[in-house]
Symmetry: C2
Subunit: 259 residues, 2 copies
């Protein structure tokens, strides 16, 4: 089995080393990861400037490739140029901090796995629910078990798995549960400050307000100490609204008198 590994915290992060070490026990692993941290870059790709690829020896951990781009760039570059044939799986992580609910939209970790899904390679993004955690052991072990499971069960083409592991000791985990993306969002605040020259600047901050209560929702599952696994696709069409909008008769908009 051939697995491509990427992330958004950058090739130097401890999470990717833990993931690579574990997956190497069951697969040939190729690492192509961002040279620098790329959190919250969403599904950005680099088109206006060229990319560079640097072979990278990470002390004692692995040999890989650092790309001066985004997580999605790394997956494209890994599959199209670096690997001789497409991998069987792509894993992204292990991320520091959860990627649930609305954060899935902003996440670089998820976008790396989603880029793989777009390229029709089954993929998973894996995160531990604490920005400061150094506890990647269980998540790394789970990644290995999940990779074997994914090898034996065909995931729908174009779908990826978004995995979130609570940052607790393995024996405290409540179990593993299949979930849906939650509706919790950020109550954003831009904190206004002044630089030493009297000019204003703004830091994005805020807190998440929780709106879900069912355990089969990603954000609720992790709070109840479940490992959450959500199938994610890239068809953004709102089919319910598509049906409802038939009553808008937009086909007539062209002939309507201007306001």
């Amino acid at each position: 089995m051939k697995i491509l590994v990427s992330n958004d915290d950058g090739i130097d992060s401890p999470g990717i080393s833990a993931l690579v070490k574990s997956l190497k026990e069951i697969a040939d692993v190729t690492v192509v990861a961002p040279q620098n941290e790329q959190s919250a870059v969403g599904h950005a790709i680099t088109m206006k400037i060229p990319l560079r690829v640097t072979p990278y020896y990470k002390n004692g951990d692995f040999f890989g490739y650092a790309v001066d781009g985004t997580p999605a760039d790394c997956v494209k570059m890994g599959i199209r140029n670096i690997m001789k044939e497409p991998p069987d799986l792509v894993f992204s992580g292990i991320n520091n901090g959860s990627n649930t609910a609305i954060n899935i939209i902003y996440s670089g970790t998820v976008s790396a796995a989603r880029e793989a899904a777009i390229m029709e390679v089954p993929a998973a993004a894996i995160s531990v629910t604490n920005h400061a955690t150094k506890n990647f052991n269980y998540a790394a072990k789970l990644a290995k078990m999940l990779a074997l499971k994914m090898k034996n069960n065909k995931l729908t083409l174009g779908t990826m798995l978004n995995v979130n592991v609570p940052d607790v000791a393995e024996e405290e985990l409540a179990g593993i549960i299949l979930t849906k993306q939650g509706k919790s969002k950020w109550d954003d605040i831009y904190e206004q400050r002044q630089d030493p020259y009297g000019r204003d600047y703004y830091w994005l901050t805020g807190k998440m307000f929780e709106v879900d209560t069912n355990t089969d929702i990603d954000q609720v599952a992790i709070q109840k100490k479940y490992v959450s696994i959500t199938p994610i696709h890239f068809d953004l069409t709102d089919y319910d609204t598509f049906d409802k909008m038939k009553s808008w008769h937009i086909e007539n908009l062209m002939n309507e008198k201007e306001a």
Copy 2:
């Protein structure tokens, strides 16, 4: 009616001026747009560095605010900090180049409108299907008619409209049609070059391969000279796969013997 306008081509682009001019005929318009071009940034938001906001007089066109961030940053900043009360609508564009099929995932134009939808403000992204076009007249007129239509019809909270206008004369348009996101994708190629110092670098290029044929698919509609309007939401859960994956019994993964 209060409308917030943003884009991804930057506050200096001609498309945003055409949009603002048209919407001003029916609404109070506030412009908050990226200082620099932000194409293909996806749904990136700026968290690791602070943002700056610069009042901006665009010669003869409008007064607005330039933000040194992404399209999603601009919408957040506009709604949270710059406008005294939330707008009734957010419009993003007019973009140079179509945003259909897989490009919706990468698009900064769409992400600006999607950020508004996340913030529960009805929104639309509007694009003309030619990167080099200077023909924004019909798209600008349509934006105004659509804004009035959106005012009178309640869009589902969390849904936005992705509008693509063929780059043809108004009388050549086939009509306006409600569509779904297509499945066409890019056959990516990284073109390898060498810099004057003998080091390799890579340009992303490639072409789209078409897989859809029905006129109710965005990419097909625009080729048949229809204006395409697709309702887009941000629930990425793949519900079909969610049901299918029950047979995986991932809840047992925890107890399975390691490989």
